[in-house]
């Protein structure tokens, strides 16, 4: 294991910025992704703060209606395409997945680097759209508005189109890696659950993302040469666009949540020092979610004018996704039973996830019910729902995972105290912002509203103030994490007592991951073996 080799870690060997930009090492690519993803999150968060500020009062404060529309479009598009979809798989996944498998690298390192640069390339288009008259269509790009507005829709969709390929290639790479690169003795049921989750995610990435690509391409062509299929003026069908869009974008929400669930499984075992409860059901439920996710996209179209038959089918199937999610939640809970719970920062985020994801999930069930969705669709209730699952679910798990693997990635420890403080602010601030929005939505406040009725002001103002608490939490986090990079005490190889293979190499790992190729002869969380 971590015997002192002089060659240093992957961070310093080889040296020089060129060796970073052209690296084929999955760990470095993961770190570069991480950097871009954090920047995207901060940018998206900045837009969120700005748009919330505008909502402080029912009338105009700073922005015009058009600017406001551009703000939430940019916020949504950046958060979804640049941040949350690649967030966990491409950064943390890239870094730890091969380590967890005991592999030297992903199956196609060159492809991995290519998908990173494709990501950067796509991001450039999105940024270009921002400065050239940002799109104002909402992140859903519904036709015919998106084909007729005069803002720079093309560069934004082109950016998302390119980002899609980055996501697809990551998926292809991960599937091949998981199939072919496992260490000796690691059969499917000895894989850590995070790997299972990434596998399920990769399935969705490969199957769903091409449909987004073609949809956005059709939108671009519609604006340039005209294709006609979404254009009502010549007999096209704008609702067909929604089918196309959601065929990707619903599964995409599980691209966002599945890796997060994977992280949850890792956190709960390590910090309870205990075997996971129901390994196989958790593993299978990831795959089940991935498959069912393709059958429910129409729940975004309940009031769009789709046929009642379609609405009925989609509603039934929507509830089915709740079941595997339920299994996971209860299994994590049971894992805590009889454990030895180590209340470190990552575990605080585990707890936050449990609380917030349940709220998000339950409201998802409400939205899946036909008559209720007719009422809630297009209101702040939906906005609150998806922030609870995306921010309260995925982002919490992402931050939890970031703290969990931080020592492994950078070889430095951070301040537990400030970690807990930041988590507190984020948790409280988050609920201030978004719980209010459930009430707003239930009272009928529509989303994407620049101005609103005076009566909604108290709640909106409270929500806006929550964003400042939330922002403060992130600011604290930024400070102590950066501080840890500079002043943090060196991290041991296995600071949390984790069982999976990434903890069996030094922190930070050597360039080739393991000095001795690992051989696996036990289950991934078999604490009983060492604790008796």
């Amino acid at each position: 294991m971590a015997h002192a080799v002089n060659e240093g870690s992957y961070l310093t060997n080889p040296k020089g910025w060129k060796s970073w930009l052209l690296t084929l090492d999955h760990k470095r690519i993961g770190i570069m992704y991480l950097l871009f993803i954090v920047i995207s999150f901060a940018l998206g968060g900045f837009f969120a703060l700005a748009l919330r500020l505008e909502l402080l009062s029912p009338a105009k404060i700073i922005f015009t209606a058009k600017q406001y529309n551009q703000l939430f479009t940019l916020h949504g598009a950046i958060m979804v395409f640049l941040f949350i979809v690649p967030s966990i798989p491409a950064s943390l996944g890239n870094f730890v997945m091969p380590l967890m498998l005991g592999a030297k690298d992903v199956a196609f390192p060159r492809l991995n680097l290519a998908s990173f640069y494709i990501y950067v390339f796509g991001a450039i288009f999105c940024v270009y759209s921002m400065i050239s008259g940002a799109a104002d269509t909402g992140w859903t790009f519904y036709t015919p508005y998106s084909t007729t507005t005069n803002t720079s829709v093309i560069s934004m969709t082109l950016g998302a189109f390119i980002l899609g390929f980055s996501s697809i290639l990551t998926g292809v790479n991960f599937i091949a890696t998981i199939h072919k690169m496992r260490a000796k003795g690691m059969n499917w049921f000895r894989m850590p659950l995070f790997v299972w989750a990434l596998y399920a995610t990769a399935i969705i990435q490969v199957l769903a993302t091409p449909v987004l690509a073609i949809t956005l391409l059709l939108l671009i062509l519609e604006r340039t040469i005209g294709v006609g299929i979404f254009d009502p003026t010549i007999g096209g069908d704008p609702v067909l666009f929604q089918h196309f869009f959601w065929f990707y974008s619903h599964p995409a929400v599980y691209i966002m949540i599945l890796p997060a669930m994977g992280i949850m499984s890792e956190l709960v075992t390590t910090f309870c020092r205990k075997n996971i409860f129901g390994y196989k059901t958790i593993a299978y439920s990831s795959i089940a979610i991935a498959i069912i996710s393709f059958l429910v996209w129409g729940h975004h179209l309940f009031v769009s004018g789709q046929s009642d038959n379609a609405a009925t089918i989609f509603s039934i199937l929507t509830f089915l996704v709740g079941i595997p999610s339920a299994i996971k939640v209860f299994n994590w809970l049971s894992t805590m039973y009889g454990g030895s719970i180590n209340l470190k920062t990552p575990f605080l985020y585990f707890l936050s996830f449990m609380v917030l994801f349940c709220v998000g999930g339950f409201t998802g069930i409400m939205l899946g019910a036909l008559s209720l969705d007719v009422y809630f669709h297009g209101t702040y209730f939906v906005v609150a729902h998806f922030h609870y699952v995306m921010m309260g679910g995925t982002v919490m798990a992402f931050i939890g995972g970031l703290h969990y693997w931080w020592p492994k990635m950078f070889g430095k420890m951070y301040s537990e105290f400030w970690g807990a403080v930041a988590c507190f602010f984020i948790f409280v601030g988050f609920n201030m912002v978004f719980f209010t929005q459930f009430i707003l939505g239930a009272k009928g406040m529509p989303r994407r509203y620049f101005n609103y009725l005076d009566q909604f002001q108290p709640l909106h103002a409270f929500s806006t103030m929550g964003t400042w608490v939330l922002g403060l939490g992130f600011l604290i986090m930024a400070f102590y994490l950066i501080d840890s990079l500079i002043n943090g005490p060196p991290a041991p190889a296995n600071p949390w007592g984790g069982m999976t293979l990434e903890w069996h190499t030094q922190s930070p790992p050597v360039t080739h991951n393991f000095d001795v190729a690992p051989v696996v002869d036990h289950d991934p969380y078999d604490y009983r073996r060492i604790d008796g």
Binding site: G171, H179, A213, G226
Partner: protein, 216 residues
């Protein structure tokens, strides 16, 4: 490496693989998964095709009379033949017949180019008659919704055409590597992969041809 004509370039297994076998089967699996992606990429367009066929059946009937089935059939034959030469190319690489590999690859490329030439004439005819995507459409037709058909036609055959073009590039790259003697019975992964890709392009056309040209 010496640049002598007959020298063989030895392939080294990449560092993160244990065996050449593992490397090969991983590449192949990756390729198949990539094709799955391609399938859904084109698949979405087929969904659109069927939706509008369902909504405007008579318009489709009218529209397909504007397409020349003879050209389509000719192109089908080109592509099928090229699939055959491709598979033979892979086989000769497997059996160390470098010369045959070169010839087969060349034949494949030639057929692919012929496909594009025929396509060029077809497109030219459409341009001439104004049977174009909606924004440029100035053709004559009974049905108002006709431009939609040509929107779809150009997008679907256009994307397919781009795939053919990429295929030509890939085959050229194979020929270059083959000329350096990189392929042999121990290592022919790239040939096999491009082969898979090429057959997939053929596969798409196998559906495009009857749907656009034969049944309206």
């Amino acid at each position: 490496m010496s640049k002598q004509k007959e020298s063989l370039v030895q392939h080294h297994v990449a560092h993160h693989f244990d065996t050449a076998e593992q490397e090969f089967s991983t590449a192949k699996l990756g390729m198949w998964v990539f094709l799955v992606q391609e399938l859904l990429f084109f698949g979405a367009l087929f969904v659109a095709f069927f939706v509008f066929k369902y909504l405007y059946p008579e318009m489709y009937v009218e529209a397909h009379h504007h397409l020349s089935w003879k050209m389509g059939a000719l192109n089908t034959i080109f592509l099928i033949t090229s699939s055959f030469t491709m598979v033979m190319g892979v086989r000769s690489a497997q059996t160390n017949q470098r010369r045959a590999t070169k010839n087969y690859l060349f034949a494949t490329m030639l057929l692919a180019c012929s496909f594009l030439v025929v396509k060029y004439f077809e497109y030219a005819a459409k341009f001439h008659h104004g049977l174009l995507p909606p924004h440029f459409f100035f053709g004559e037709g009974v049905h108002q919704t006709l431009p939609i058909f040509f929107g779809l036609y150009f997008v679907m055959t256009g994307l397919h055409g781009i795939h053919v073009l990429i295929g030509i590039g890939l085959i050229a790259w194979l020929m270059y590597r083959n000329s350096r003697g990189e392929f042999n019975s121990e290592f022919y992964t790239p040939v096999e992969m491009v082969g898979l890709y090429w057959h997939f392009v053929d596969l798409v056309w196998i559906f495009l041809f009857p749907l656009f040209y034969l049944v309206g």
